[in-house]
Every structure is written in structure tokens, then in C-alpha cells.
């Protein structure tokens, strides 16, 4: 991202009370769940981040703000990238869904729900995407063992 654009972006977004971090030279923006919709609307409408290309659900395994979700935004016009990170509560990881801003977020959020167990309020179709619906655990949480939990997925009857 070129420097002028970065400065404008930082100025504009710091009015909304967000913090910044760095991902290989691309700006990373840390927002709280109540601000995320506003931040993303600004990024889409004023900085032409027209695509959301991924959402990364993370389990930090810490007492405070255990969960995170990182949206990977791409601007087709300026061919650069920005990352928006939302810090989520440990007990009740919940954040508003961004489906109304980018349609493609739908499946990425379903994946984050399936793997890490983050709840997206206002999501139209929050189902597990890879694992069976009856599965009770979230495999990418750090307290889920690598070998799996015996008996959690029933085998077909003989």
C-alpha cells in the first residue's frame, strides 16, 4: 500500500478509535465488535476495498480476548490489501456478521464458526461447513486434541 493512501486511511480510521498493526507492510486494523460494521463500511465505500477474500478465526488461548477473527480485504482498484482484526470475548465469542457488506463473507464466517466456534449475529445461514452438524466440538481450538475425541463422530453400523 502506498504511503499517501496509508496515511489517509490511518487518519480516517483513528477517528473511529481503532488500533493498528502490521502484516508484511499491509495495514492491520484492530477493532472491537461494536465498531466493526462501521469500520468495514468506511473501508469498502471510501477506500474501495471491494473484496473480502478470507476470514481467519484464531484461538489465542489466553484469559482475556481469547478469540480473534481477521478479515482479509483486497482492493481491486488499488491492488492492495488490508486486514481487519476483531478481538472477541473468551466466554462468549460473538461479533456481528459482515454478510451485508460483502456477500462472500458468508462461507468464511461459516468456516470460522465450524473450526473455532465464533458466533456471528445476523448471519443468514450459520451452519457447520465441513464437519457434520451433530459434531459438538470446535477442532481448531487449542484445547481440542490433535488425535480427535474418540466417539465424537459415530462410525457407520456394520
Amino acid at each position: 500500500m502506498n504511503n499517501d493512501r496509508l496515511t489517509v486511511l490511518k487518519e480516517k480510521l483513528s477517528q473511529l478509535g481503532v488500533e493498528f498493526y502490521d502484516v508484511n507492510g499491509s495495514p492491520g486494523i484492530i477493532a472491537s465488535p461494536d465498531k466493526i460494521i462501521r469500520v468495514c463500511e468506511v473501508l469498502k465505500n471510501e477506500f474501495s476495498f471491494s473484496q473480502c477474500r478470507d476470514a481467519v478465526g484464531v484461538d489465542r488461548f489466553e484469559k482475556k480476548n481469547r478469540f480473534e477473527i481477521i478479515y482479509n480485504l483486497y482492493s481491486l482498484e488499488f491492488t492492495d490489501r488490508a486486514f481487519v482484526k476483531v478481538l472477541l470475548d473468551t466466554k462468549n465469542p460473538e461479533t456481528p456478521s459482515l454478510v451485508n457488506i460483502w456477500k462472500g463473507v458468508n462461507w468464511y464466517e461459516r468456516e470460522a464458526y465450524d473450526m473455532v466456534g465464533i458466533n456471528f449475529t445476523g448471519h443468514p445461514d450459520l451452519r457447520r461447513i465441513y464437519l457434520p452438524e451433530e459434531f459438538e466440538y470446535f477442532p481448531l481450538r487449542k484445547d481440542f486434541p490433535l488425535m480427535g475425541i474418540p466417539g465424537s463422530i459415530p462410525l457407520p453400523k456394520k
Binding site: D22, V23, Q51, V56, T79, L140
Partner: protein, 426 residues
């Protein structure tokens, strides 16, 4: 048994079947899903996961009105192997063979993509010759993958011969890999900091021979279908999706380019040597299956151009970075030098220790942006490794593209998306 009793029994059975969430998702305001609608017009059809036209284990639930698709829901996860969880429990080096199994139509390009992402995290610069080799590899991978896309699309519409031609050419590429690596299919060729071994003159000659002969075969492949009425009628105007929708759904790669957006990471965020090479980004504006098909076909010519330039300009020199703490030293040094032996031991047992932080590396694979978001906690294995797979996000547009199409078109639309389930399911 009297007729009434049978009906009652059926009804009892029905209420016993719990309606799963996926069936509920298929419902809309003017449709509800029931099980005994076989003779009515509306019905629910299950397609896959074991269906030759879905190119892998993709399952689709389709609600039909006669032969028209009203709504469809893809069901993924039949090839989910939990690679992101596995990656958290192994060193960066150990994960390389697993990348072969992501997009199994072009394993070697995935190796390159993964190693580039890790090198970005490690701040590791690779030697010039390794860059050339990697560029050749990723472009050969692109041709390899597009050949399958070409062959299967024609096969889906009823032509078997071009598929065999495509496979014949693909075999030649696999033979070239055999000379590069010693393996034809699951290559695991790249290493962090370079490649496993230098390529020989013989392998370079074989590559040159291939790119010299290939355009003639490409012309043959083009001629047989370009003006074929059956083929064109099956693809033209099918699976249309507006440019705005394509962008909004986060779709990229050839499908985005077929919608008239010139977006290619090789030009937009150049990695390896792509800023020094001369090639064009192929675009079309129709945004239907035929446009996607020809965009892929044209890209093979561009890939050939790139490979030819790389072979001409390729310098001599080492193929592995000399960074004792980050890159493996190589066998002959391990056997003769103490220090290298220690470094090798440390790298294999404890792995590279990248600085704490987050990094994202992405390349333009044949299907779109293949990226790795890596979160490092300073230890030898990734704290979190997220694979951003193009097939997964491209598949998301499938329900929209299939709306109001005929059931027979669904096969062509899936072929036009060219998904690889190994990558979509991770």
C-alpha cells in the same frame, strides 16, 4: 394392507425423520422441503458426493421445478483432512508434503506458494537461480491444471477425444517433473530457502522441447472445438454472473478475469520474477462458462511465454540460500562439516524460529489467489496457519450461477468453476 393404513404409516415415518439443518437451508419463503414429492413438479435432488461430473467429492442439494434449478446448496467437507490443525503440530518444513495434497492438479505450484509465504515470514531472500526454477515450476503447474480444466469441460459436454489429448500433454509435464525432482506427481520440490535440488541440463532440454512442441498441440485442441456447434451452444451464456456479483462474492482467478476485471497477483503484487517478465493478463467480458474456458486456454499460451523467457535468461549459481538458521545446508555439507550438521539437527528437530508476528503470503495459482496467513509465536511450528484456497471461495458463487439453469447445465457450470475439492476442503 388397506391404502389408508399405508398412508398413515408413511406419515408416521416422515415425522420420525428429523429435518436436518441443510435441508432447512434449502427452504425459502415459497418452498418447503418434503420427502414424498416425487410425482409433483418440485423435487429435491441429491447430486454427489460420488458423481463424476462434480470433479471430486462435491455434494449438491438441488431443488428442482421440473428441469429448472430453483435453489441449490453445496455441501462440502467430504475431503476435510484438517490440514490447518495438522500444521499447528509440525514444523514449517514438515508441512511441505501436505501442500501437495491441497490442489492435487498442480502440486508443484502449491509447494512454491507455501515456501514463498514462509520465506516472507522469515524474511529470507532466495538465490536468483532458485527464483527462475520456481517460476518455471509454477507456470508448468498452471498449464498442467488448465489442461485438466480444458479436458474435463469438453468431456462434460460430450467430447471424449480432447480429454485424452489433454492427458497426453499432461503426462509430458509429469515426465519433466520426474527429471526435476525424481517424482512425477506429489513433488514436494521446494525447500524453505530454495529448492530440493538443482535442475539438470537434460531436464532443461526436455522442458524446451515441450514448450516448442506444445503450441501445435494447443492449436489442434483449439481447432477441434472452437467452431463446434454442440460445444459452443452448451457453454455460451451458461452460468452467467454479473461483474458486481463476482466481485462481491470474493471470487478471483480466471472467473474474475472472465468477468472483465484485469486482476492477477502476478502483475498486481509481483513475487518471484514476474515483474521482470513479459506476459499479458488474459481477460474477457462475457462472464459465462465459454469466456472462462477461453481465458484458461489463453493463459496456457502466456505460461509458455513465461517459461521460455525463464529458460533463456536462467543464470548459473546456487539454488539454496546460505542462511544456517533458516535454510537446510544440504547433504554433502552435513556429512563433512560439524557446524552444518548441528544446524541441520536443530532445523529438523526444532524448526526455523521466525519472529513473533503475523504474515500473509499469496500467489496467483491457476484457480485464483492461494494464500497462507501465518501467525507465529516465535517457536518452530506455526501458531496458526490459515489456508486461503481459491476453490473454496469460488465455489461460493455456484448457487447464484445455477439459479434458473437446467439441471444438465449444472455439470457445465461446475466445470467452468474448476474447483478442486482437496483444496476447498483442506
Amino acid at each position: 394392507m388397506p391404502h389408508n393404513t399405508i398412508n398413515e404409516k408413511i406419515q408416521q415415518n416422515e415425522s420420525a425423520i428429523p429435518k436436518s439443518k441443510i435441508l432447512k437451508a434449502l427452504e425459502s419463503t415459497d418452498m418447503s422441503v418434503e420427502f414424498d414429492d416425487a410425482l409433483e413438479n418440485e423435487m429435491v435432488l441429491n447430486m454427489g458426493p460420488q458423481h463424476p461430473a462434480t470433479h471430486g467429492v462435491l455434494r449438491l442439494l438441488i431443488s428442482l421445478d421440473g428441469e429448472t434449478i430453483k435453489k441449490s446448496i453445496p455441501d462440502l467437507g467430504y475431503l476435510h483432512r484438517g490440514y490447518e490443525k495438522l500444521a499447528e503440530n509440525m514444523s514449517y518444513h514438515e508441512f511441505i508434503p501436505h501442500t501437495d495434497r491441497l490442489d492435487y492438479l498442480q502440486p508443484i505450484a502449491n509447494n512454491v506458494a507455501y515456501c514463498l509465504a514462509v520465506e516472507k515470514l522469515l524474511n529470507l531472500e532466495i538465490p536468483e537461480r532458485a527464483k527462475y526454477i520456481r517460476t518455471i515450476c509454477s507456470e508448468l503447474g498452471r498449464i498442467q491444471s488448465h489442461l485438466i480444466a480444458y479436458g474435463t469441460t469438453v468431456m462434460d459436454t460430450g467430447g471424449l477425444t480432447p480429454f485424452l489429448w489433454a492427458m497426453r500433454e499432461r503426462e509430458k509435464i509429469l515426465d519433466i517433473y520426474d527429471m526435476f525432482v525424481g517424482v512425477r506427481f506429489t513433488t514436494s520440490y521446494t525447500r524453505i530457502g530454495g529448492v530440493a535440488q538443482d535442475i539438470t541440463q537434460e531436464a532443461l532440454k526436455a522442458t524446451t522441447k515441450f514448450i516448442d512442441e506444445f503450441p501445435a498441440y494447443l492449436k489442434e485442441m483449439r481447432d477441434i472445438i472452437e467452431r463446434n456447434k454442440i460445444f459452443v451452444d452448451r457453454l455460451e451464456g451458461i452460468g452467467y454472473m454479473s461483474k458486481e456479483d463476482v466481485i462481491s462474492y470474493g471470487i478471483n482467478g480466471p472467473i474474475l478475469r472472465a468477468a472483465g476485471v484485469s486482476s492477477d497477483l502476478r502483475k498486481d503484487a509481483p513475487y518471484l520474477l514476474y515483474d521482470k517478465l513479459d506476459f499479458d493478463v488474459v481477460t474477457a467480458t462475457e462472464s459465462d462458462c465459454l469466456a472462462r474456458f477461453w481465458v484458461r486456454f489463453q493463459e496456457m499460451y502466456e505460461s509458455l511465454k513465461i517459461v521460455r523467457q525463464c529458460i533463456e535468461k536462467m543464470p548459473e549459481g546456487p539454488v539454496n540460500a546460505v542462511e544456517p538458521k533458516k535454510s537446510l545446508p544440504g547433504k554433502e555439507k552435513i556429512y563433512t562439516k560439524m557446524e552444518e550438521l548441528i544446524h541441520d539437527f536443530m532445523l529438523i528437530n526444532f524448526g526455523q524460529n521466525p519472529p513473533k508476528g503475523e504474515s500473509y503470503g499469496a500467489v496467483e495459482s491457476s484457480k485464483g489467489e492461494l494464500g497462507f496467513y501465518i501467525i507465529s509465536d516465535g517457536s518452530g511450528h506455526p501458531f496458526r496457519l490459515k489456508i486461503r484456497s481459491p476453490s473454496f471461495s469460488n465455489l461460493q458463487g455456484l448457487p447464484k450461477m445455477m439459479e434458473n439453469c437446467f439441471i444438465s447445465d449444472s455439470v457445465v457450470i461446475i466445470g467452468g468453476l474448476d474447483p478442486v475439492m482437496g483444496e476447498a476442503d483442506k
